[in-house]
Amino acid sequence: MGVFSIEIVREYLPFFLKGAMVTVGASLAGILIGSILGLFMGIGRISKSWWIRYPFIWYINAFRGTPLFVQILLIHFGLIPLMMESVNPLVSLIVTLSLNATAYIAEIFRAGIQSIDRGQMEAARSLGMTHVQAMRHVILPQAFKRMIPPLGNEFIVLLKDSSLGAIIAAPELMYWGRAAQGQYYRVWEPYLTVAIIYLILTLSLTYLLNYIERRLDTA
């Protein structure tokens, strides 16, 4: 392999850091959009009406049952060109991450909601609250607390999976790793550096999440 060339790392570091920002931004956008859509989908997923429930179940199955790799290609080269004039890889990446996260987060919401004792809903309804009021003031606040660990987990998964953006040339961290590799035909310098940056990101996130969990436990 030759000597590890710190020069290559130094040259590409600004790009890696810029890429890391894009990685964090895209996965953050994915988790936020995914949480909003996932909330509605998670509630719709347990609806009593089959015509609301079934489309959601199929959406969730489709996105959880196919590789993100395939999804990103279909969306970037298929779906987005159908809907927009100009195609931006970063937009495609964020759309893919959001739609994918929606499916997983919908399941997190469903599990969170269903983990709340049904006596809670009954007590709220017996006091005259509507289903929506009971959800909003009684069920969801309790469910959210239980959803934070799996949501954090999903965020970490998303952060790592956003590296697939490299194949559609979205300028995230892995994209710059591949660019450096392509220029110098070196493996260790770009990929090891990129791996370390991913590790720093995910470990910081894990640490942050543990902190939040501890805070909520004592609250």
Binding site: D117, A123, L127, G128, V138, P141
Partner: protein
């Protein structure tokens, strides 16, 4: 006040309530007894439509619960319910538990709801617990908060489903005291309980349920001391 006509309730193939008809007058205290699984909880839950009913009719103050124009949420504000498992909201303080529904459903101002909440807490003897979370309360205290929470909606009817069954024996008394006070104030009450002392002291009528029917009903003393039906006798000999 409450009129039940040929009420039927099935869960799938399981017919739990076969034919229940009963009328409950304003300010009456009706105690429901019967073996476990006889449908007492189901009956109570049909009175505020926590269970959908399969057949027959339930009328609350002449309002048919399953009629098209009936707003069930509106009816429920007039029918408080107390559960065996308390079902307090663990993410809210005691006072917030009580204030939530008046504010969200009745649209009361915070101040009004708070005054009502504190007044009710004083009534059930838990004024000093207003700002703690339910987790830190004993079972008897939790159930008294649950009663206060139901009362905050100013219902005319209160339903109790084995309110003391989940309590340690030494806490049963404090909950029954609160319920007796309510009865004396003229609350219309339907109480599923096996506390015979309570039934005798404040009950106007006891219903004995078994197998999806009301097998026998009478004034408490008469029913306990002189049951007419074999099934009633058999049940009472086990619990008394």
């Amino acid at each position: 006040m409450i009129k039940v006509e040929s009420l039927k309730k099935s869960f799938g193939d399981l017919e739990v309530l076969k034919e229940i008809s009963v009328e409950i007058k304003p300010q009456e205290v009706v105690v429901v007894i019967g073996p476990s699984g006889s449908g007492k909880s189901t009956f109570l839950r049909c009175l505020n439509l926590l269970e959908s009913i399969t057949g027959g009719k339930v009328m609350i103050k002449d309002q048919d619960l399953t009629a098209k124009g009936t707003n069930i949420n509106q009816v429920r504000t007039n029918v408080g319910m107390v559960f065996q498992q308390f079902n307090l909201f663990p993410h809210k303080t005691v006072l917030q538990n009580i204030m939530l529904s008046p504010m969200k459903v009745r649209k009361w101002q915070r101040k009004q709801a708070e005054e009502k909440g504190l007044e009710l807490l004083r009534k059930v003897g838990l004024y000093e617990k207003a700002h703690v979370y339910p987790d830190s309360l004993s079972g008897g205290q939790k159930q008294r908060v649950a009663i206060a929470r139901a009362l905050a909606m100013e219902p005319e009817i209160m339903l109790f489903d084995e309110p003391t069954s989940a309590l340690d024996p030494e806490m049963v008394g404090e909950v029954l005291e609160v319920m007796k006070d309510l009865a004396k104030e003229g609350m219309t009450m339907v109480v599923v309980t096996h506390e015979m002392g309570f039934a005798k002291e404040v009950g106007d009528r006891v219903l004995f349920m078994d197998g999806g029917y009301i097998v026998e009903e009478n004034a408490p003393i008469a029913l306990f001391e002189n049951p007419q039906q074999e099934r009633t006798k058999a049940f009472l000999s086990k619990v008394l």
